[in-house]
Structure formats: C-alpha cells, structure tokens
C-alpha cells in the first residue's frame, strides 16, 4: 500500500496523463456544447416554468396557457396533417424509388440519383420561393396540372386546405433525393450472393425487392422516418414565406414553431414562447432517444 502511494505504477501515470490529454482534446467542444446546447435548453426550461413578472415558479401555467391559445390546436392540426402526408410519401416513394433505381444499370442509376438529389442544394428559403413560382398558375412550368385541378390563380392553389400537401411536396422535393442516396447505399451493402441465391431459387425481381432487400434496409427506413418526423415537427420557413406571399390569407402562426415565434417577437411573451419551444424540444428529444436506442445504427462505446 505504502509503496503504491509513494510511487504509482506506470500504468496509472499513463492513464492520468491520457485523461488530461483527453480533456484538452474535447475541452473547446464541451464549451460549445454547454453554451449552445445545454445552456439554451436549460434557459428555455427555466423560462417555461416561471412567470414573466419576477420569475416566480409557474408550474405548468405557461404550457396550459399556450395550449389553450386559440391558435395552438389549429397549428398542431396543420402539423399533424403535414407530417402524415410527408412521412407516408417519404417512406413509400423513397423506398420504392431506391429499389427501382437500384435495379437499373450503373450508368442510368448514377444519372438518376444525381437528378433526384440536386434539389437538395436548395434548402431553406430558396426552395420555398422556387415552389411559389411553380404553384403560381401565371408562370408555372406545370400550369396545365394546376389548371387540371381547376385552379387558375395563385390564391386558389395555396388555399389553406391545400397547404399540408403542398408543404409535404416541397419537403419531398428538397429532402427525398438525399434519402434515396442513403437507401441506395444501404442496398449496395447487401451481399450480391444473397440476391443471387434468391434468384436461383426462383424469386422474381419483385420478390427479391420485397423479401430480401426491404427487410435488410428496414432499420434505415426506421431511421429516416423518425428523423423526418423530428425535422417535420419544426416546420417554419415554408409556412412563413407562403404566409407572407399570400398577403394575409394564411395565418402567420400556421405551424407551432411559428406560433412560438409570434409569442417571442410579437407578443413579447418569452415564457409562452419557451413553453412551445420546450414542447417541440421534447418531441425532438424523444425521437433522438428512439433512434439511438431502437435502430441500433449508432453506438457510443
């Protein structure tokens, strides 16, 4: 004992040394994590559970007040419809397209993948404005489709009932290509022998796709779905710009995130804004935990 105390073994010295080095490598990152991850979360929680006057404990008061706001339920409904269209189209079409693309020759599939993913470069405001053009019958490249639905003015196209589908189409336009690439990559990881032996056993291309390929990329589909759900709950820029372009037809608090924005910027109610932000944070957090614990795609060891 005494001996060990006086002269620690070489292994112990090394571990301490490496431990100190470890902290020096991650130190700056931990600061950023605390300042721009943990601190804003903690501050939003603090605001959400306190009153605006004096900062006394408010319990769930802010949550109840915002949930009872006449704009809250409509915003949540809009979001639910949007997520429904977006997730179904994402799962069905992305997986379907990836399977079909994967069955093409290498040349065709490369060109197709590029074509599908290029719109991904237009995230944010740029893609929304492009779609404002596409949805305006006066200048739209697909005006004949809009006319076929009986819509001849921009206001008719962006009427409130259409918005969840339109936002899902916009999200699909920018987001689907990247996911098709991911699915394609996952499909490429399936050993060729597996599919070859299925074919020798008499499986049709359909059966190979549905019975062999699909089950093997299932966790990627799960990953995509949860991540798209989490991202979708944050919907902001699409309704914000469409609302602006609609000149008053579309509510400026169409989505929950917009409502939080209205609370912070127009009502100066930071506590209410925090309560909605915390609602959305919790949704995102649940999704993250689900992905990490259930899909087995990430390991932290």
């Amino acid at each position: 004992m005494a001996l060990t105390l006086r002269a620690p073994s070489r292994a112990v010295t090394r571990r301490r040394h490496r431990s100190a080095a470890g902290y020096s490598f991650v130190g700056a990152y931990v600061l950023l994590l605390l300042a721009f991850g943990a601190a804003p979360t903690a501050y939003a929680l603090w605001l959400a559970f306190t009153t605006s006057a004096g900062g006394g404990f408010a319990g769930f008061g802010n949550f109840l007040q915002t949930a009872r706001d006449f704009r809250f339920i409509p915003a949540a409904e809009h979001l639910a419809f949007y997520l429904g269209f977006w997730l179904v189209s994402l799962v069905v079409l992305v997986v379907g397209l990836a399977l079909v693309v994967h069955s093409r020759g290498p040349r065709a599939s490369k060109a197709l993948r590029l074509a599908y993913y290029v719109p991904g470069a237009l995230a944010g405001a740029a893609s929304v404005i492009v779609w404002l053009f596409v949805l305006d019958p006066a200048v739209s490249p697909v005006a004949f489709i809009l006319h076929a639905f009986g819509w001849s003015t921009f206001d008719e196209v962006i009427s409130p009932g259409h918005l969840p589908v339109l936002f899902a189409i916009m999200a699909f336009w920018t987001g689907a290509g990247g996911w098709i690439l991911v699915m394609y990559g996952a499909l490429n990881n399936i050993p060729e022998e597996l599919m070859e032996s299925a074919r020798l056993d008499g499986a049709s291309p359909w059966q190979v796709a549905l019975r062999i390929k699909l089950p093997l990329i299932r966790k990627w589909v799960a990953y995509m779905t949860i991540l798209a759900f989490a991202t979708g709950t944050q919907l902001f820029v699409e309704p914000q710009l469409v609302s602006q372009a609609s000149v008053g037809i579309i509510s400026p608090s169409w989505s929950p995130n917009q409502l939080a924005y209205v609370y912070a910027f127009q009502l100066d109610n930071f506590n209410g804004a925090s309560a909605i932000a915390v609602d959305l944070l919790i949704l995102g957090l649940i999704c993250a935990v689900l992905i990490i614990s259930r899909t087995g795609l990430f390991e932290a060891s």
């Binding site: 470890g22 020096s24 950023l32 405001a125 404005i129 059966q207 990490i292 990430f298 932290a300």
Partner: protein
Amino acid sequence: MAVELGAPHPSPAVQPRAALARVDGPPPGGHHGPTGRLAARVLAALVLATAAAFFLIPLVWLLLAPTKTDHQLVVQSPFAFGSLARVATSWNHLVAYEGGAILVWLRNSAIYSFSGTAIAILVGIPAGYGLAVTQFVGRKTLLVATLVVMIMPSTALVLPLFLEMNAFHLIGNAFSVILPFAFFPFGVYLAYIYFSSTIPPDLLAASRIDGCTEWKTFRFIAMPLATPVIALVAFFDFVASWNNFFLPFVMLPSSNQYPVQVGLENLLSSTPAFNPTIGGSQLAVYRPELALAILVAIAPVLIVFLFAQRALVAGLLAGATKE
C-alpha cells in the same frame, strides 16, 4: 441481366394473348414471362422518368427564368429561352436593389458560413479524436450527449438560443450565428467514427513510445490521415450553415447583416407578384430578378453538391456504423 441485354421480343401476333394470359393469374413460382418483364420494365422506367421530371422541371424553369422579362414569363412557354442580354439586365436590376444589398448578403453568408465551419473543424476534429483514442471520466456521457444533439433537429434550439442571446444582449452580433454554426455535433461524431475505425491503435501507440505527446501524436500522425473526414465535416457544416434560414432570421434584425437566405425572404416581400402592396415609388424587383437571386444564392452549395456527391453518400452512411 439477360433481360436487359437481349430478351427476344415476342411476335406482335402473339403478344396480346400472351399478355392477357399472364395478367389472368400470377405465374407459378414468381416467374414472369418476357411480356410481363417488359411491362414491369416499362412501368419502372415510367416511374423513374416521372420522378426525374418532378425533381428537375422546377430547376430547369429556374435556370431559364432570368433570361426573360416578367411579361415574357407570363406569356411565353415556361421552357422558352429569352436572351443572355436579359440575364445581364436582370442582374443590373438585382444589384441596384437597395444599393447592392444582394452583394452584402452574399458576403455575409460567406463570412458566417466559412468562420462557422472553420471553428467547427478546429474544435470538432480534436474532439472526435479525443473521444476515439483517449480515456477520461465523462467520455461516455459526452458521446451520448453528442448523439442526442446531433439527431435532434437543430431548429428546435433556435428559439431557446435566441432567448439566451437576448439575455446576454448579443442579438445583432455576428457571433450569435457563427458560434452556433460552429457547434456541430455531427462533425464530432463523424470524426469519432473515423478515428476509431480507420487509424490503427498500434500506430498511435508506436508514436507515443517514440516519445510523442498526445497532441504531437494527433498533429503529426492522426491529422495527416484525417483529410477525408475533415473535408466531410467542412462540407456538411458549410452547406447547413449557408442554407440556414431560421437562426439568422431571428438573430440578425438589420438588412445589412442578413445572410443571403434571409435576403431572399426580403426580396420576396419586394416582388409585386407576391406582394401587391409594393409598387409606385418603391424600387421593386420582379420575378426574373428574384429567380436570378435564388440562382446566385444557391450557386456555392450547388457547386459543392455536384462535386461532392460521392463524399456526401460516404458521409451519410458513415454517420451510422454498419453492423
């Protein structure tokens, strides 16, 4: 494969009957005859072409729009080409808007994205390395926290970040967007995966035995091998920062601080077609100018995208470990 290369076409006389017969009931054992396969191939080609049209038509329209006048956009075929001279005119109108605001916005975007990305690399690559090759108390917690924040949509933190910055009176300060851009857990995770899977521990051990400190080992052994992951982190953070709308939208209230994505929103509200209240004395932009502004705004990301497709896929797949 045989189907693609040389499946014999059935003679026209036999084709309708054969097709009918195969539609009547599923062929035994899942074998489709040549006609069934042909139909499936045609259907597949149609699906792929429709999807390609969906993804590309808006882009083609966007590329052509600045070559026309606002009036031509309405009366001509959507895919008609105007003239290159008209692009120059649109550009002049665009630059004239608020005395060259678009140039200021592009410069701002470049400053915010490049500084954010540079800090993200300086901070994130060593962090990924530290997580991968060193042991310390709290390492596992840090990894889990990184994963959680990385998977959570970054938009979820925008309003909390705004409230935090507001409390510190940092609204309107460029660092209120640069530092959040620099906080890039996905990059740390990519570096962590890279260093734990590609750098042989023996190599690092050898360097330590030769007397290198941990930082020297990192600098002279690990860093030179890490170029691919540095490029990947730079790519992802740059694209995410350049395209970010919500964060600068709430943090930077004055027009001369906007990045170009927020600038586009400002242009949209000055386009009479989308805002009938604009007009008269106010200097307006029209649809061709707005389309050109979009093209200019996305050009840097589009270029990176076209040249980095391979890296992008590799990164997306490396983001999660294979079994």
